[in-house]
């Protein structure tokens, strides 16, 4: 029973929000390859949402485009989530490994990505007055992903409902801390780099004179 291929697992998980991840855990399914594909798809979905929309819905002027925020919003946020969740749930008797958190969380993002792409298509045929279709698709995707993410965390760690809620809230805090530390680290390294660089130029001048 339930001998599915990796691709069938993806489909099974997305369309069975309440027991899909339990099945996945039971059968030890899921693949990191799909995680990579999903994260790349998320990256392109975010860019598509800002750049490939029909012009009547375009929120961002062309001149202000930069790729960095999109990398931030997809790759960095995702790994901060995984890292934060792993760090919190190890302390809270969670059973998930880093690999499983990665796989389960990424599978949960699929409805959001798909709804974004559907929306990008819709903006080319809708006008502003018909925005309700657009927002419907958006919120369906968002809520679906929310439910999937919740059930992913619940089953990967084998938590109760309340413990999952607590874990998610704590994970969000952990993400903040991680990102804050990253910024701190980066600016510190920049200072160190500048210090060594000025040392180098100083020596260069001295030896020359």
């Amino acid at each position: 029973m339930m001998d599915l291929t990796q691709r069938q697992w993806v489909k099974h998980v997305v369309f069975h929000p309440f027991e899909g991840f339990e099945d996945l855990r039971w059968k030890k399914g899921g693949s990191l390859k799909y995680t990579a594909v999903i994260i790349v798809a998320l990256f392109f979905a975010l860019i598509a949402y800002d750049r490939w929309c029909g012009f009547q819905f375009r929120p961002l002027p062309d001149a202000m485009f930069s790729v960095m925020p999109y990398i931030m919003k997809s790759v960095v946020y995702f790994f901060a989530w995984v890292l934060g969740n792993w760090a919190i749930c190890t302390l809270l008797d969670g059973e998930g490994t880093m690999k499983n958190i990665c796989i389960y969380s990424s599978y949960a993002l699929i409805p959001y990505i798909v709804s974004t792409f559907i929306n990008v298509f819709l903006t080319h045929i809708l006008v502003r007055d018909e925005q309700v279709f657009f927002s419907t698709v958006y919120y369906v995707g968002l809520i679906w992903t929310g439910i999937l993410l919740f059930s992913a965390i619940k089953s990967v760690h084998q938590y109760t409902f309340t413990k999952t809620v607590a874990a998610i809230i704590l994970t969000l805090f952990a993400m903040l801390v991680i990102l804050f530390l990253c910024v701190l680290f980066l600016s510190l390294f920049q200072k160190v780099y500048v210090f060594f660089y000025s040392l180098y130029t100083e020596i260069l001048y001295r030896t020359r004179v």
């Binding site: 029909g54 009547q56 819905f57 002027p61 202000m64 006008v127 502003r128 007055d129």
Partner: protein
Amino acid sequence: MKNKSKHSLTIMRGAAAGLVCLIALSSFKSPVTADEPYDVYNYNYLGEAVPSQAGYLAERSVSGLDLGTTALNAPSDLFKDSQDFFYLVDSGNNRILKIDSEFTEIVQEYTSFKMPDGSETSLKNPKGVYVSPDTGLMYIADNENARALIVNPDGTVKQEITKPESTVYDQQLTFLPQKILCDNAGNIYIVLNNTTKGAAMFNAAGEFIGYYGANSVAPTAEVIANHFWNAIASEDEKRYRSRSTPTAFDNFDIDTVKGFIYTSTSAGSTDTDIVKKVNPEGYNLFDYMSNFRWGDLFSTWYSGTTYKTKIVDIDIGDDGSINCLDATTGRVFQYDKEADLLFIMGATGDQVGSFAQGNVAAIETKGEGCENIYVLDAGKGTVTIFGQTVFGQIVHYATKLYNGGYYEEALEPWLEVLKRDGNYRRAYLGISSAYYNMGRYKDSMEYAKKADASGRYNKAFERYRSQWLRAHLTQILIITAVLIAGIKGLKFFLRKKRKKAAETAKAGSDS
């Protein structure tokens, strides 16, 4: 090098433009040929300064000696009446000069006037002048004599307005008129420099009626906090608390056709109510544009001083354009009547067309399409005359048509504008509107996209979509039907095949 190439480019463009102009728009005059001593710019929709074509070029500057009289001494106001005569208030010399429309010679010099009782009276540091288009009466703000004079065209004083004795007017205040004008009903408005309540308003008989068009207080955090503390303070404490008072506007002009009074405020401490359009009831019609920045969008900071736009005078052109004079940068900002920026001209410097910082005092315009702009430089005692370029003429022509709702007629001039300046965003908007009205929705969408106007694109796209759907309805229906049938057939075919395969497999395992 840069200047040279720019110059040759201007000539090339001028030549090509002149040709097209002669063919297409024969009503326009020949281009003004000179090079401006500054980089011409305009703001794009993101609020960034981008290079632009000059709409006006400084032609010449006129001093008192050029006009055949002594040098001007701290002149403070310039006014053009309905017959295109100019009135220049030469404050330091206590006189008013009436100058001909070409600004070459003095028609009349007013130094003293005959009072109704027969005595002679002279001016003392006059600051403002206005001539009514209906009656021809001249209104003079005679500052240090603490009065305003209403003078008949023949030079006799008709009426003298002095400090009102009304209780509404605080009797401890002096009455020192700065600027003056009168509306179509004969009401007289006088800007005083010691009240924030607005302009003192007198009826045609010279009786004080009240104040008109005061600025409002911007609701900053400090003002709100102040309001709160005042509400809970005792009467005694209140006397020592600071009160939030608005800044006073210090110059104004009247749109004689429509009757609106435009006020300008030069105080640098506020960003609200810099320019107001006040209706006869005293209500500011530009109130909804409270976030609009008049003049330069950014202030510059240089060695401890912030240089910020300071609008000292405002003039409403005959075509309704709003011309603001910025004393900080010596620039003129010209807006159309919808407050869309048309042109920026002028700079700080010593060449013709540029002014010493803080020296400019007054601005006037002349012509149906605002062909000339006159800037009074109080420091040098000169009037600089700006003339419209071909580009400026076309933009004004197109703007006039566009604002009047003649979108299709404005198409040709807007296309002409784009040939000269691809950065001019309003041209893209104008062309988009024209094509929309003509039913060319695809083209309208294209130009709306170029102008980055997604609202306008949305409108055009809606029409384009329904047009497209109507044209292709049969094809769409046929294709959908074929697709559905095809998918159904394929599914049926696949299921049959699978069934067959399963049956043969079953048969194989059974045997």
